[in-house]
């Protein structure tokens, strides 16, 4: 139940009660409460659980993680090459 899915904000409405909006999850759009992500704008990615945005998703962090893993791949590849040349 703690599953949460990233989606892109397509619409924001400030109701008298809360900041609400529409979020697109790869083609499926749902109404989401954006009350806890005051910084989020149209086009921002948010991580949504039970109709509530838990956080904005840091696109920079996502790219950095993937880049670090690709670099790890290069290092691991070199290590394997070294081992096979020694072996």
């Amino acid at each position: 139940m703690c599953l949460a899915v990233p989606g892109k904000i397509t619409e924001i409405t400030q109701t008298p009660i809360a900041k609400m909006g529409k979020v697109d999850f790869g083609g499926v759009t749902r109404e989401v409460c954006l009350e806890a992500v005051p910084e989020a704008e149209i086009g921002s990615y948010v991580i949504v659980h039970a109709g509530f945005a838990l956080n904005t998703l840091s696109e920079r962090e996502a790219e950095e993680t993937l880049e670090a893993l690709r670099e790890l791949g290069e290092i691991e590849g070199e290590l394997l090459m070294d081992e096979s040349s020694q072996g």
Binding site: M1, C2, L3, E35, I47, H49, N55, S58, T65, L72
Partner: protein, 364 residues
């Protein structure tokens, strides 16, 4: 989908797996806290790709599994009352109470509706002003803000026919309970990423320090989980016990401050009885007295509940990482997702359901 597919990339998964195989030198027992992670691990076969030195045990992070039997029975009693519409997340409907479940209440004429969001339950209340609408607000920290928004909305709309049956639990006290047990086997934790999205991870620093155990905030996609495992194993092999974050795109150390403010405004700490585990002091939240009018336990008189748990089910030991589901004599025979003896066999986050669904049976 963006920010999901990239974290399922098979080439990157292989790279991290190789690095884990290269790093591990000793046997280690790791616990993933969250049942959503358990299912991701099973679904993607991660447990079978890891070196044999790493054993994953499955934590208590399944809200419908740990909701106390007494509260389940209360929900069943309230749902059976005339003029009540009980609303709930779908997972909760087949959770066994002492002698029935919400599905059987519905089959015998009770009104039970599945909602995707607590805010949908408020809409049900608006659309049915002549009915009492109750939302069964189960959940960990992740679900607290959404559950709370239903109360905030109902209050702002002046709804008099909406209430919540609250079963909110929190992760850190459960970690203390697991680590403090003489039967504990856990040497490293993958902390639940979406709990930390709300709460941050500063709460885990004293736990890592006290029990000298590494804790790594971990996400849910295969790459996220493997990265969490790698960082935990690197710490264990180096003799470190720090709190680290392997889910930076969603989690910050301080968490979501506006969400925490909502929680503080509406909830207060309380003791909670965890199904199968027992009472854990100050391990949950309840509505503050200012919100008592929305408390279903106060609105409906359901006292004198006598609970009766299955004699065979070992869900409590499974939830604490002491036993694996196939060690239960009823697993897959007397207890199946269609006829569950315990909640861990029903929920999409329950460890027994994961083992049943992905056919994991212990090797002899």
């Amino acid at each position: 989908m963006k920010y999901l597919d990239e974290f399922r990339n098979a080439d990157l998964v292989k790279i991290v797996l190789e690095k884990i195989h290269r790093t591990v030198k000793h046997p280690w027992v790791l616990m993933e806290i969250c049942g959503g992670q358990t299912h991701s691990i099973m679904q993607n076969g991660i447990d079978q790709l890891l070196p044999s030195e790493i054993e994953l045990v499955h934590g208590p992070g399944c809200p419908v599994c740990v909701t106390s039997l007494e509260l389940v029975d209360k929900a069943l009693a309230i749902a059976s009352m005339p003029n009540v519409i009980m609303t709930s997340f779908g997972d909760m409907l087949r959770v066994p109470g002492s002698n029935r479940d919400l599905f059987s209440v519905r089959a015998s004429g009770g009104q039970v509706k599945i909602v995707y969001s607590p805010l949908d339950a408020v809409k049900v209340a608006q659309a049915n002003p002549d009915k009492e609408v109750v939302f069964f607000a189960v959940g960990f920290e992740t679900t607290a803000p959404a559950n709370i928004m239903s109360v905030v909305q109902a209050q702002a709309l002046g709804l008099k026919n909406f209430s919540v049956l609250v079963s909110q639990v929190t992760v850190p006290p459960a970690m203390h309970a697991i680590l403090g047990s003489p039967e504990n086997r856990v040497q490293g934790f993958l902390a639940a990423g979406h709990v930390c999205a709300v709460m941050g991870y500063h709460e885990y620093l004293p736990i890592a320090e006290k029990y000298r155990i590494p804790i790594v905030v971990t996400g849910f996609e295969p790459l996220d989980i493997l990265k969490g495992i790698l960082m935990t194993v690197e710490q264990l092999e180096a003799g470190k016990f720090e709190v680290e974050n392997a889910y930076g795109r969603v989690v910050s150390k301080e968490g979501n401050i506006p969400a925490q403010a909502l929680i503080k405004k509406v909830y207060e700490d309380c003791d909670r009885n965890w199904r199968g585990i027992g009472m854990i002091p100050m391990s949950g939240w309840r509505l503050r007295p200012e919100y008592a009018e929305f408390d279903a336990e106060k609105r409906f008189s359901v006292e004198n509940i006598k609970t009766k748990e299955s004699d065979i089910c070992i869900a409590g030991q499974v939830l604490q990482g002491m036993k694996k589901p196939p060690q239960c004599p009823a697993f897959g025979t007397l207890c199946t997702p269609e006829n569950p003896l315990g909640a861990t066999m029903v929920s999409s986050e329950g460890a027994c359901a994961a083992y049943y669904r992905y056919a994991r049976v212990e090797k002899e």
